[in-house]
Symmetry: C2
Subunit: 385 residues, 2 copies
């Protein structure tokens, strides 16, 4: 039997950076997923290995089950239903299991992702042999929450086995966990995120687990329900950025210009709340959708101006804005800025021809374009034989 789980990536619709200074931010799931497939060897396979195949990066890793037992002797004291943090001792043991593999050094987050895998797999499922295949529609490390989607899908697939009594094994379509089971997935995924990011906000895994959108402020997350279809063109500028340095630069600017920056953060807070209110307001006729989209586009443009004011934009982001502006489309950076990904609102009534033109022009600049529905489904699982 194969268990498959998928979990969506996320975007920040409004409030990045300002959220660090107390403003509200809004994050949303996108319909681009990371897929994790679990397959267990039959007795005739005689394969006593835990195998991990990261298809997108072309990496195949394996650990003999005996080696896992030896390296992680405390495994069987753990419980799948009680998520716990990885101890320093276990982390060191896992790190040496990862270091033995030939992971390209150019990608350190890849190694930490494999560590998270080992921790989640062995904690939830113990030291059993399996073949795990991971594929993703999300570019890695570009701020679209690829690591959280991986942790959520992996936790979901693993927990589906213990929770599977509540799901329909005979249905091969995507099925949704109960809220309490999703809570468990979310907690485990957060533990995985801690291994990858050190001190994650919990936003990415929460959005990936539950889908839809969340508002967050001062560490408080509130799930909200969208009441309108929303589509974005996500442009990956492929310009690498240092999130920590960008966050620090905003803090430094805030120290230098405290009064102005306090007002800037207030403005962002108002934008996030207005944006969330528009998205949550009851569905109405087509005209109302167009009006809502116009307001959302304006709010995105305003947020982008405020991000420029914080000093976290970038020439590559500006290039995307210029191209989109030719077609009167609203654009803002999403996430850390300084490169990374950029959102362009695609109104419902926009013709496909225009979208194709915009994408062609952006791709000719060397950018990667993806179209994503916003605020959709969270983690789901399916079974096949």
């Amino acid at each position: 039997m194969e268990v498959r789980a998928r979990a969506p990536g996320k975007i920040i619709l409004a409030g990045e950076h300002a959220v660090v200074h107390g403003s509200t931010a809004v994050a949303a799931a996108i319909d681009l997923y990371t897929y994790v497939s679990l397959r267990f060897p039959t007795p005739t396979d005689n394969d006593n290995q835990l195998r991990l195949h990261l298809k997108d990066v072309g990496l195949e890793l394996s650990w003999p089950v005996g080696k896992l037992k030896e390296a992680l002797p405390k495994l069987n004291s753990l419980s799948a239903s009680a998520p716990s943090s990885c101890s320093l001792e276990t982390f060191k043991a896992i790190t040496s299991l990862v270091d033995e593999q030939n992971i390209p050094e150019t990608n350190s987050s890849l190694a930490s992702g494999v560590s998270a895998f080992l921790w989640l797999y062995t904690s939830i499922h113990g030291d059993k042999a399996a073949k795990v295949v991971v594929t993703s529609e999300l570019p890695l490390g570009s701020g679209l929450g690829s690591s959280a989607a991986f942790c959520v899908a992996l936790s979901g697939a693993l927990l589906a086995l213990s929770e599977s009594g509540k799901l329909d094994f005979t249905d091969q379509g995507w099925q949704i966990f109960s809220d309490s089971d999703l809570e468990l997935v979310n907690k485990w995924a957060f533990e995985g995120e801690k291994i990858i990011h050190g001190k994650p906000s919990g936003i990415d895994n929460t959005v990936s687990t539950y889908g839809n959108m969340i508002k967050f402020r001062s560490g408080q997350l509130t799930r909200i329900k969208t009441n309108m279809p929303l589509k974005m063109l996500i442009t990956n500028t492929k310009v690498g950025r240092n999130t920590k340095a960008l966050v620090a630069s905003v803090s430094e600017r805030t120290l230098r210009h405290s009064s102005a920056m306090a007002s800037v953060f207030n403005a962002v807070d108002a934008i996030s709340n207005e944006l969330a209110a528009i998205i949550q307001s009851p569905a109405s006729d087509d005209l109302a959708v167009t009006e809502k989209e116009e307001k959302l586009g304006e709010l995105m443009e305003m947020n982008q101006g405020l991000l420029l004011c914080m000093g976290v934009s970038h020439l590559s982001i500006d290039t995307v804005i210029r191209v989109a502006l030719k077609y009167k489309l609203s654009t803002k950076l999403t996430g850390a800025g300084g490169g990374g990904c950029v959102l362009t609102l695609l109104p419902t009534l926009l013709s496909g021809t225009v979208v194709d033109k915009v994408i062609a022009e952006l791709e000719s600049c060397g950018f990667q374009c993806m179209i994503a529905g916003i605020g959709g489904r969270g983690m789901e699982v399916s079974y096949s034989y």
Copy 2:
């Protein structure tokens, strides 16, 4: 004898648009001038005409003095020392004196400038023959206060004749009026500006008259003294803009997003006040100047982000920003936005080679570049024989 007066143009350093909504703005004189020369015919000239030569636009106009007397019979009841507003009756009479001339219809502000000229000339100096020559270093109608500089220089030259007892006729250098005489110049210039703009703010003529800088908020103008040299590259994008429409668009956005926009205006207010404080702070060593310039550059960048947030930027402005950014120079629009002029801070220690490169690149985009010292002298007069 020839009386010459010159009056500077202005830039808005911070706070444009937001000032309409109660924020502080800062305007400064630039060392680009409009020059007005007055020359009176000797008895042997036998020229009984009032002649106006606008050199930059290649326009030569003249009115027989008899015609002025006839059209404006109430002239002699006016007093140069008591500035008064142009009555509707007089305005109509002046308009028909202007309409008789062959002024190209493509430039309606030129005609209103000529009306202002006739009002100021005849009100201050009566119906005497003279030859008035106007030249300017300021591009017309680009937001650099060319009309105010014209009104100020003209009023200054005309008042120099009545006030000349206090100035040194034998000195052929530029001389400054007393504060009370400047007040008179400023009031007359404001009356001229009313003929050109309908409802001017009084900022342009005040900066042009007194030089230096002013802070203004809710109609209150405060003159401030700069304590540091400051140089800007002024780039005229030559993109025409509709100031009234831009002001209205900000007001509409404010109605749609009142809470966010209120914070945006507060942020601008803080930026204007901080900028003014830096410029006024006591002069210190070179390092301090560099630090001040860095802060000013950052404040300009922040203000530009907020102007983007108000929706008054433009692709042409963005192009200037991109070019300047290559050389790590800070840029913001000045005035109404939507095209018009753009400021780029030129730090004291910036090499001339870099400045030349930036200018060459901007000019290759079709823009006009001017280098200007900021916060300099106001209206001055000189005599020659």
